[in-house]
Symmetry: C2
Subunit: 156 residues, 2 copies
């Protein structure tokens, strides 16, 4: 079990692309979204994971990530609730930390979100010039909401 502290931002422009060192194509969907937890299946590159997170829109959530066979993950997508989210995750190192910039495709085309995982809620980090408005804790930008409700109306 891990405790995850991450902050999430919209992105203004393409300035982040020059910092990118790697990317990963991700398909994911939710098996369930309840008052107490979410269960997500993710195919990420050639790996696949089942991830259980405690509910809540705050900075800190309990997270359990379990590696599963890729073929099982593909079969589980059929049991999903909501849509399959497709995105390309770009990795941009930032000192000891790193930005992950998710460029969504399909129904969510046009949405770009940058996330940074922090060692503590109070951790300092540099804000690159391409960072837009913070959406940490905004339920409309949670992956489970994007899977269920689609693109926020102010997201474009």
């Amino acid at each position: 079990m891990a405790t995850e502290i991450e902050r999430k931002f919209l992105v203004a422009g393409d300035g982040w692309r020059s910092s990118v060192t790697d990317h990963l194509d991700i398909r994911q969907a939710y098996l369930s979204v309840t008052d107490t937890n979410t269960v997500r299946v993710r195919l990420s590159g050639r790996a696949a994971f089942l991830t259980i997170k405690s509910a809540g829109a705050g900075l800190t959530r309990q997270e359990f990530e379990i590696a599963i066979p890729f073929v099982d993950a593909e079969a589980m997508l059929a049991l999903r609730t909501g849509r399959i989210i497709e995105k390309r995750r770009h990795i941009a190192p930032a000192g000891l930390l790193r930005w992950e910039i998710d460029v969504f495709a399909g129904d969510l085309d046009g949405l770009v979100i940058a996330e940074i995982e922090l060692p503590a809620e109070t951790a300092e980090f540099e804000r690159p010039h391409w960072l837009g408005a913070e959406v940490t804790g905004d339920p409309r930008y949670g992956n489970s909401s994007l899977a269920t409700n689609g693109l926020p109306s102010t997201g474009r």
Copy 2:
């Protein structure tokens, strides 16, 4: 991924006890129960599993069982929906097959259910004298219903 074919019966009396060769104490709870799937965490003896099953009350369901660390399973119980089910599972071999007789405890005290897993929907099997009414496909006796709704009123 496995496809599970099992039949489920109430139990009349204690006649099954003489066939039992082993038992296992089980604690389990559901992380979610949706229209398309259920996600269950189970602590079974010293092992722990996360099990995803496709929805449906029929004989055949898709099932994915994933071994997880025991401490993670214990922590996941706190994220459950419904109650924790506690039961002692008795194993009674029957030729190439085996009966599993679940004696429930706690809120479900008094309930005893026998299950047999079959190699095919049409497979023949012997019905021991202690077998009661069949409840295969009866949603009231599904573990997710027992966790959410408790003991069926006709279950005693």
